[in-house]
Symmetry: C2
Subunit: 479 residues, 2 copies
């Protein structure tokens, strides 16, 4: 069969509206979020039911066609973008975006995998519940992608990653078998928890088509504070104190350096009055679903303690919803600030909390060794030991060329530093196509061997997102 | 080679002290916790290092000898007990019981898999941190077994299951490969999270030799209450109210029927003054690491609300450590109370919270249909949707014969009822040898198919705990 015969066969399954092969319309599906790589695809398939996904997979397996599952195409690691061969076919879940059920008593929500994160948050909120997954791309990323990358974001310190929220799953295996396990259960110890395999698998083990997610009571009290850090502030000690004294009502502990704050401020129409101390700043938030807790007073007590330790130069408690929103906007504008600057080379580092300070020291030395004048934007979810350690693209330099240069040299020194401290080269962004060589370099060989077994067990023909995450046991097919 | 040659080969590896084959000393390793089944073993191997475990596994693979990993041998499902063939060899982790490291700032503890749960709790507490895993067998169960069964227990409503606490792992695959991934990281999205495969695998995919567990701040404030439930009390609504109004400081929501309370009371030297209401009772606890929160006053406010709804007949706030301890002792003595009564047939049910009441209704009808005079002991971790729905062995009846009778008939009706409501036949006890047929009956076929692939991918020769959890793709070897 010729490529156009293949497209026709999929069209027979899905109808005309279910297959896109107009080259102009394909463009948004073939370039990754960070615009570092543009692949090619025969067509984009848009099934509307799990049965259709199964039919697509079965047909692809029969024809030997590689598939690339895609949600919102917001991967930072090229995990949802087809390769350059032009022989892979994108399977977009965007037409499967229904909220299937909110069950308030069970505190769960059941959705199609193509549901946009923000829509799911809203559906939960309309039942006075919280979907505690919140991240920059929430307006366009989709739940299937959140599962595929085990998305983290801004509430992990309290609620965990996507893995911790996943109660049930529906997925199509690479031979077309449907796994239908849309349970709402907190506890279900009946053998291997197969859904865990899909979490973080970035479309390489099958296609997730539905999910049941755990919800939490909707917070009705919030206290938000901005801490100007003293130069000496030890981040992990500060976190330990805040976590302990807040009784784990802590929901946010976001660190930002002065440079990151300046970049965000430059990109904001009305920047807030808060700024960094000599050690940067922390955005701190407590939240609770209880009307009976006075979080502002709790926050004030704890802030006083941090000032006493001389870790904090000054602290501001948000006095209104507008002040709170403006502190949050500052934090969330950093990536846009980096973009307006001219881009950054991103490093999604995590290290044990006890080694965060050491990582910052060692990494700083490596950066200066590489080039004396490089500028950094460092910020992140320090509550989880996660730092976005980004190198700003020097003005007047080609972003992609600079990225390639840094990633082939300095980046490896930074990952070496993280690895030496028991850290990792990818805290929340995943592996995708861009970081597969890093997994091979830094991953424990026994663990990688087990991964390869899992890959081959699920996908013996290697049709699912070949080129991403991990090599199968046998040589990878080229489609 | 003869069986005694095999034992000698293991002795050459481990030394005399590392191999037990004295028939009298073998007895404690070959009978399961509930004394429902006695298997047989050639020998018990007791390696002291991960390298020795790897050597044992490599040798067993070469000789074609089946292995049964064992921790504290407290499985309720016969998951740690060898079969009757006499050809399986038990690998006990009991000599690998070291606490490797407590890292207070990273809030993690690294241990050998043979460490007894209680020892790990104590090591955490000595650093002012909490290992939030607490269950009846904690004085004898071992961390490797907790991982193998994804142990739940008394704090799941706040802290989750063992899976949610596991940060890093060390394990030996069935070909002797060592997976060495003892990370302390909250976030490490670098491909498939292989450690998740081991959680709930009950020794069928390899042998866990070490683990890094997440710790929480140690609570310094606690409020404990005993709620006498009105007949009309809707459990899920009550839980939702308490969870919301307590701002998720809830750590315990344990339900007990009057019969379970009476059994426990009869087994206690000095039973407390609290008893059940007409709808049973709830043991409720809030805990916080913050000195600044007044949990007693929060509890009183919430109790008043539950009384207003007429869900609670009466409520008692523990006024001292002794009162608190006595409420807890009552709850924790229920299994012993059942034992003294003459035993019970246990059903470890879970259902979506919105269906708990419905399950109790349907199950009650099934029990009465089976026999008008059967007595029940029903209690459990209702905060997680988990009910221990136990049938008391009628006095004067043989326990094992009655168990076999009920499990072949009534138990299936109860599991049918749970399944029809989206529930499960095993919430926290696992599958082991006793419930494998239930997994085949109630498990989603797609999910079971994926499990079998995973089993065969990890253990192609089928040497690891054959007979437990799930059949491999190929016919199961008989050793």
């Amino acid at each position: 069969m010729s490529p156009s015969d293949h497209v026709q066969a999929f069209r027979d399954l899905l109808g005309a509206v279910g297959v896109v092969d107009d080259p102009q319309r394909l463009a948004t599906y073939t370039t990754d979020q960070r615009q570092l790589f543009t692949g090619s695809t025969l067509a984009v398939l848009k099934p509307v039911t799990t049965k259709q996904v199964s039919d697509v997979v079965t047909l692809a397996a029969r024809l030997g066609i590689g598939l690339v599952p895609q949600g919102g195409n917001t991967s930072y690691c090229g995990g949802a973008t087809p390769d350059a061969s032009g022989r892979q076919v994108v399977v977009s879940l965007e037409r499967m975006d229904a909220i299937r059920e909110v069950d308030p008593l069970s505190m769960s929500i059941s959705v199609d995998a193509g549901a946009i994160l923000k829509k799911v948050q809203e559906a939960a909120a309309s039942a006075a519940l919280l979907l505690p997954l919140s991240l920059g791309a929430e307006g366009s990323c989709r739940i299937g992608g959140n599962i595929g990358t085990n998305a983290g974001g801004l509430s992990v310190v309290r609620y965990g990653m996507t893995r911790d929220l996943l109660l049930g799953i529906e997925a199509v295996l690479p031979d077309g078998t449907i796994v239908s396990d849309m349970r709402k259960l907190r506890k279900n110890n009946t053998g291997y928890d197969v859904k865990q395999c899909f979490v973080g698998s970035e479309g390489t083990l099958g296609i997730v088509t539905g999910a049941v997610l755990r919800l939490a009571p909707l917070p009705v009290r919030r206290a938000t504070a901005w801490l100007k850090l003293a130069k000496v502030a030890p981040l992990a000690e500060l976190l330990a104190l805040v976590r302990r004294e807040s009784g784990e009502l802590l929901t946010t502990f976001e660190f930002m350096t002065a440079r990151s704050i300046a970049l965000a401020t430059a990109a904001m129409a009305s920047p807030p009055s808060v700024g960094p101390g000599s050690g940067g700043a922390i955005l701190l938030e407590f939240a609770s679903s209880s009307r009976h807790l006075d979080l502002d007073s709790l926050m004030e007590t704890i802030l006083a303690e941090t000032v006493e330790y001389e870790w904090v130069e000054d602290a501001f408690l948000a006095q209104s919803g507008a002040q709170r929103a403006s502190m949050w906007e500052l934090r969330e504008t950093i990536p846009e600030g980096e973009k307006r600057w001219g881009g950054s080379v991103k490093h999604d580092i995590s290290a044990p909390l006890s080694c965060i300070q050491r990582f910052l020291d060692v990494a700083g030395v490596e950066v200066r060794k590489f080039h004396a004048d490089l500028e950094l934007s460092v910020y992140g979810h320090v509550g989880d030991g996660n730092l976005h350690y980004n190198i700003l693209v020097p003005q007047g330099t080609n972003r992609i060329a600079f990225t390639r240069l840094v990633e082939a040299s300095l980046s490896l020194r930074l990952y070496d530093a993280a690895a030496a401290l028991g850290g990792t080269f990818s805290a929340e962004h995943g592996v995708g196509r861009f970081k597969r060589h890093l997994l091979e370099k830094y991953g424990d060989p026994g663990r990688v061997a087990a991964m390869r077994r899992v890959k081959t067990a699920f996908d013996p023909a290697g049709i699912m997102n070949a080129g991403a995450v991990v090599r199968p046991l046998d040589p990878e097919p080229v489609y």
